[in-house]
Amino acid sequence: MRIPIETYTLANGLRVVLSEDRTAPIVAVNLWYHVGSANERAGRTGFAHLFEHMLFQGSANVGANEHFELVQRAGGTLNGSTWLDRTNYYETVPSNQLAIALWLEADRMARLLPAMTQQKLDTQRDVVKNERRWSVDNQPYGTWWEKLPALCFPPEHPFHHSLIGSFEDLDAASLEDVAGFFATYYVPDNAVLTVAGDFEPAEAKRLIDELFAPIPRGGPRPPLPPMTLPPTFGGERREIVPDDVVLSRIFLAFRIPPFGTDGHYAASVAAAILGLRQGSRLYRALVRERQVASEVSAFTYDLAKGSDLLVLDAVARPETELAALEAALVAEVDRLVADGPTADEMARAMALVESGFVLGLQSAGDRADQLSRFTTYFGAPELVNVQVERYRAVTAEAVHAFARERMGEDNRAFLIYVPKEGSDERRAASVESAVANVGAEG
């Protein structure tokens, strides 16, 4: 399967990617800005994400909340998201509504600030604080989102600090910060615009030219601090977090090569071998055979600068001692380091990775997002069409070499959640009754 791609750059630096697919009357518009929480300045953690909210608060010709209304009125879906190193905005609309989606994105890129008010900032600050309470503070294990990067990246590193931010920093954000952030990062030469699906290329180009070409290019952007780190942590790291939970949980992170490199493809295959689906090693060993975990998974952050993380995640069964879970988890990692993967495991991982990639490109919105991703990170949308080959080129030897280099004892960071004091009694009681109940009828 090859995705058709046409790409060009406007004089103001905006990179444009077009990918036609006329099978259904649907078109996706996708805009990546190459800015994320890594670009925040000290004392303003959470700002990139707060700013993402402000981008839905209207622009010179669009009222507050009208962006959502106009896209939904057009029969479309939309949203945005912020990550450590990028922010994206996206709409999927019926193909006859392409113009309004492009017009809305252009109006906010060109004319956001005239519509900004202190009141809008204050309201969105409250919304984001509630988002933090909802997704972090009021969730069992919810703080892992900020604790794991903090454990794995040094304090001065741009990936170290919290993406959602602290209440204190959110309170400190001013309208001046909004204006400065917008002028610095939300400029055409820091963005990629992708249109994928059912559209007439000449008409799309005409619209893009009319709407985006007049927007002036930005000024110089402050460089990020150096992001390159040694290949490993240089020793084991460990943080234990007592939390309002009844089941212990271990996140085990390894520093790995950044997204897009050969080493990252080998890491992805190692992750699939260890933790993707029921045929993976961790599922077989920890969930099925030893029955010390109720859930396991493996994932990467897909960070394209400096270094990335591969994370194994295992939730203990109620009766499991934490030490037994950790020992079982580490044993599987050690075994991969010592022996590498089998040919069967490689075949399973490749088949899953390949079909996952094909299935992940079924919708116009997902295709557009991938094209924007490869253009933002590497200036090369056509990398989408070689992903399967890049995975296929990974050998068992390469996975073994990766495991030896990056999964050893000098490169392991453990973030461990345990039931906090006071919940011990409740936990002990519920474990006892749960185990007794299960055993009774067994």
């Binding site: 649907i26 909340n65 909802w134 109720s294 399973r348 749960a434 009774a440």
Partner: protein, 464 residues
Amino acid sequence: MTNPTLAARRSPLDAPPRPEPAAPRPYHFPRFERRTLDNGMRLLVAPVHKLPVVSVVAVVDAGATCDPQGREGLAQLAAHALTEGTTSLDAVALAQRVERLGASLDAGADWDGALVSLTTLTRHVDEAFALFADVLTRPVFPEREIERLKAERIAELMHLATEPRGLADEAFARAVYAPDSRYAHPEGGSRTSVPALTRDDVAAFHAARYRPSATTLVVAGDITLDAAEALARRTLGDWTGEAAPRAAADDRAAATERRTHLVAKADAQQSELRVGHVGVPRSHPDYFPLVVMNAILGGLFNSRVNLNLRERHGYTYGAHSGFDWRVQAGPFVVASAVQSESTAAAAREVLSEIDRIRTEPVAPEELSLATSYLDGVFPIRYETTAAIAGALANLTLYGLPDDYFDAYRGRIRAVTAADVQRVAAEHLHPDRLQLLVAGDPEALRAPLEALEFGPLLLTEPEEG
């Protein structure tokens, strides 16, 4: 409303006028055809040749509403246990075979049906479908795996007890439905019912319910009708047996008057808020106006409830309302997570929005936003083979007519402001609403009492 200081930071450009839509291109939901095998199994096939992918779903009348009283969770356990080994492959070998094909094979049960689903690349469809048929008809339910699945469900319930959202949803179901209604208890069973389930229960449930006469096989994707039928005939043609009859689910309400329920979650910074009551069945003739009414009330981002709680007051990250559509009447609920100190105020706003949509006509712009969204977004919902198969599975589960998807957009567009007001007045019942809050009892008790919204009941998480 423009801000001159900020505007000066970048010279304002003349904006091109807001564009009008072009003429829409026609869209048709994929054509599908029906066949019936000699053993009574029904077949629905939608050939879609966009990508080399096939999705298959077996819809079996073996959902959670089949659970016998005291055996809640049996349907879900039986569905999950299907992939734990067959007469020809143990669970590990089965997972390896499926994953070596790059396929996914999953089984689960919701209220109204068990769903066994397969998605595979076309070139592996024969081999993958053989595994699918094996799982559906020849599971062995190993004792050890059944016990493991039960233990995992218990672990999940213990986790949910610390998770405010799960806690609120579970307690809300108990607040809304009569105690002996299946709907009052979690779909996957509770800490009292799950430990009592045995391997024999599971095997007997499968023998009684997983029968060709109770099964519809949905196939969507890169395959022809004849090829799909041949595949089904070859692998499932010998499957026999009639499903045991069963009673319809009981959807009686717990109360006919307003009550406030406080679920204690000490020290929670945020409360989970639920307001609602028993709704209406999926087959109700008012379905389309109800969907439009709900979109306006709390279904869309720009709905009244979300704009009020999130954008006007900043009480929450999000608020929404919905009908949980089931064969019998599922709940209607408005849900949000709000700061402790704003909980009572937020509840008051929700109650006033429910009153308002019943009594005030909706504005033409509100109505057209909802109908044009639901009309326009329809094709976007069915971009993948799995989504198309899921839609056809719903057709089967709820007994909808074959022209349902073709008629959908017209029926949405036909809903009027008067329809919306009528169905809101008829199907939302302010006098029966159950108000439930999971959060910090210290902070919440007094303000909730001050609302004077029926008797205040302290609710404990379900014991077991």
